[in-house]
């Protein structure tokens, strides 16, 4: 991905240096009119603070919840959001697109 993400990762480094436990969420696939391109990233700490964006706001809440689980579990997982998905009616993409997101522990 291009430059805009560089600052997110630099901020993540600062968070790690402060001793915070983090997860990294990355858009790995998109279909249709997904709002953020593949490679877009969100960094989440164990208290649910986050920087960056994976969907322009549509599914960040759900991703943050999953990310806190990932920080606890210590292993990554793939999430999928979209109108074709059951959960979409709760946390779906208003644009009608579909995205897959990989969430992993960052720095530990």
């Amino acid at each position: 991905m291009s430059a805009p993400d560089a600052n997110i990762l630099n901020d993540a480094k600062s968070w790690l240096d402060e001793g915070r436990k983090l997860a990294l969420a990355t858009v790995i696939e998109t279909w249709g009119s997904a709002p953020q391109p593949t490679g877009s990233q969100l960094v989440i700490d164990e208290e649910g603070n986050f920087i960056g964006s994976v969907s322009g706001g549509c599914v960040e809440g759900a991703v943050v919840t999953e990310a806190i689980d990932v920080i606890g579990a210590g292993t990554g997982k793939v999430l999928e959001f979209g109108v074709a998905d059951e959960t979409a009616w709760e946390v779906g993409l208003a644009c009608g697109g579909r995205i897959r997101i990989y969430v992993e522990p960052l720095g530990h």
Partner: protein, 229 residues
């Protein structure tokens, strides 16, 4: 991502070295691949085009899914001319992810006061552009209208692999520019890389709108390879 790998990614970005992080999605196993070592990787076929088109993607191999995350160096825009249009173009270039460098030998134009927060080089373009680095992640826009300043920069851009070259000026100005450059033995095919009059034709008036037209054309070349215009 383990801390060691993460630090390697950040180092690569800081040093403008292209790298990819490859994640085996089922296990989370990860590896870092430098672009110049990509041909030795199991996914070498995919990596070459992924780097070239800056395209992170999921790849299936032997029934397993891998996410190839491309970390290319930041995009760069080199503006020849510390002029009015540059002032309008800078915030747009920054917002879309470009590191901006201004080159203008005229000290009265190239002042910190007029251009805060960008790389500002008050030298002749042909003396500094090699150091600035004209690579495939770079766009060059010539904005001075002055052949003494623009032409040498355009020649260097034409001899490089920059993905976009644009030059400000009317159709007539551009025609005489091409005439001058032909004398330096550039073929018509090569000269066609220079977009002039610069920018998409949206009837732009004034510096801000012209900057939008330029930025749109740069994005078009980056994302579509400039096929549309």
């Amino acid at each position: 991502m383990k801390r060691e790998l993460f630090d390697q990614v950040l180092d690569a970005k800081a040093e403008r070295r292209p790298v990819a992080v490859i994640t085996h999605l089922a296990t989370g196993a990860q590896r870092l691949v430098a672009r110049d070592a990509a041909h030795d990787d199991d996914l070498s076929d995919v990596l070459d085009t992924a780097f070239r088109f800056d395209k992170s993607q999921v790849v299936a191999q032997d029934g397993e899914e891998y996410f190839v995350d491309i970390h290319n160096p930041p995009l760069k825009m080199v503006m020849i001319g510390a002029v009015h249009i540059a002032q309008a173009l800078i915030p747009m270039a920054k917002a879309t992810g470009y590191d901006v460098t201004i080159v203008d030998p005229r000290g009265a134009f190239a002042t910190e006061a007029r251009f805060p927060d960008v790389g500002l080089i008050a030298e002749w373009p042909d003396e500094v552009l090699n150091d600035v680095g004209l690579d495939a992640r770079t766009a060059v826009v010539a904005l001075t209208h002055d052949p003494k300043i623009d032409d040498p920069a355009l020649q260097m851009a034409l001899n490089s692999e920059v993905f976009y070259i644009g030059a400000l000026g009317s159709k007539r100005t551009h025609a005489s520019r091409l005439e001058r450059l032909r004398e330096h033995r550039f073929s018509d095919e090569t000269l066609a890389r220079i977009k002039g009059p610069i920018g998409l034709n949206i009837g732009a008036k004034g510096q801000a709108e012209i900057a939008v037209a330029i930025m749109a054309q740069v994005i078009e070349h980056l994302r579509l390879g400039g096929e549309a215009s």
